[in-house]
Symmetry: C2
Subunit: 254 residues, 2 copies
């Protein structure tokens, strides 16, 4: 393939597979939004920018990385999506921040084994929209650097700092040692009403769980729920997280 | 194909195409949730229930419609999804309710040309979750009875009543003549803060718009927005609708 080295081409192709991504310290942004986000927030991680010839003059944030322009046919063969936007960015995955580092946010959002790329990405975008600096993850959820999640999050991964814990217990332990004492497990039913509970966002963690099994058990935690006057089953986890995160916004802006 | 008449088989296959669905007064529920919903809420519309042999003893709400069990291979060939759940329900689409009929809800949710099946379906589920009885649509949005929307809404279409207007002006005219005077256009920026405005849900309509172009212009309307302290671009329409609809829940439950 013209322009790319064999190694670059193999690397990009392997990142389109789940197995290849899992084994690799690299990730691949496919599309304008996630590419712009990494160039804006973490240009230090970028190794290579690949543009389709008709997009060679895209105005992008400055970045010292190599830039290669490919003919349309070759580009489309390389891109993961059917309707690509003419830009791919190959980059190193950011490191997770150690859970022992000081926490910058008033409360911490923890995603406990959230597994659906759409839900996970939507929650990252929402966390960013409300001004959180971090999101914490536990082992067993989706790979945050997979192409699907990069797409659904529009690259919010690069604007946020992510932390990773082996278990919810580990995350809670690290937070408690920094004075974040209240752990809220968000449950479909039962527990304290998020709209009526004053201390939801005060030196706390708000935890959303796996789509199938919910939030893991956690000693000493409190339970939070969103009231639902209709007769629907539970909300999906991205909806639930949006409601709780914007209840925080309501409190700080009202 | 054993069990099905030629007409039934052709009808089911045609409903899996967008063109076939558009031309047809029928719709096809694929999967347990949307099938259960139509059997529970609108069994009068059901024409045929098709089960995969291993699911022949599914416990379903009572329904007088014909029930056919197919061998696994034949069933999968007919089902639209790769991982089908072993049930298909063929039914007439419910009629839209005339916009001149009395409005049962305290405020009306209008989706103005919302076009993404995931967004549209999520909003219908959320409307149902908060206890609304209706959702209004305008011309130019997605077909609410397409298989994708039935899936993403988990069949909430059948629990809700839908109304259809040729334009936002027409919908607003019909509502105003029933005393619903305040029309809220939800915008990404500018307008009144949804968390600080007292009369958002009082004899009003809250309008969410097309993903690409937003809510249409509307004479005499007011503008509503969701504050966003972070530096993200606008929320997607399903997120925005969830936040506004649960602000209503907060007000009635706090």
């Amino acid at each position: 393939m013209s322009g790319l080295t064999k190694r670059q081409e193999m690397l990009i192709r392997s990142l389109r597979t789940r197995h290849g991504r899992k084994k690799s310290p690299y990730c691949l942004c496919d599309g304008l939004r996630s590419s712009s986000e990494i160039l804006q927030c973490r240009s230090d991680l970028v190794e290579l920018i690949v543009l389709r010839e008709d997009k060679a003059d895209f105005v992008l944030p400055p970045c010292p990385a190599e830039r290669i322009v490919l003919p349309a046919g070759e580009f489309e063969d390389l891109a993961a999506t059917v309707n690509s936007q003419g830009i791919l960015v190959l980059a190193s995955c950011p490191s997770f921040r150690p859970v022992t580092d000081p926490v910058p946010d008033p409360f911490v959002l923890i995603l406990d084994r959230v597994g659906d790329p759409g839900n996970f990405g939507t929650i990252l975008r929402t966390a960013r929209a409300i001004g959180l600096k971090e999101v914490w993850l536990t082992k067993g959820g989706i790979d945050p650097w997979s192409d699907k999640v990069l797409r659904s999050a529009s690259g919010a991964q690069f604007a946020l700092t992510l932390r990773y814990a082996e278990s919810l217990e580990d995350a809670a332990g690290a937070l408690r040692s920094q004075g974040y004492h209240t752990m809220w497990r968000t449950l479909p039913a039962g527990g304290e009403n998020v709209f009526r509970t004053p201390d939801v966002f005060e030196k706390s963690a708000v935890i959303f769980g796996c789509e199938a099994t919910g939030v893991a058990e956690l000693a000493g935690s409190r339970s939070l729920h969103i009231p639902m006057p209709g007769d629907a089953e539970s909300l999906n986890v991205a909806q639930a997280a949006t409601i709780v995160l914007f209840e925080y916004v309501r409190r700080i802006t009202s």
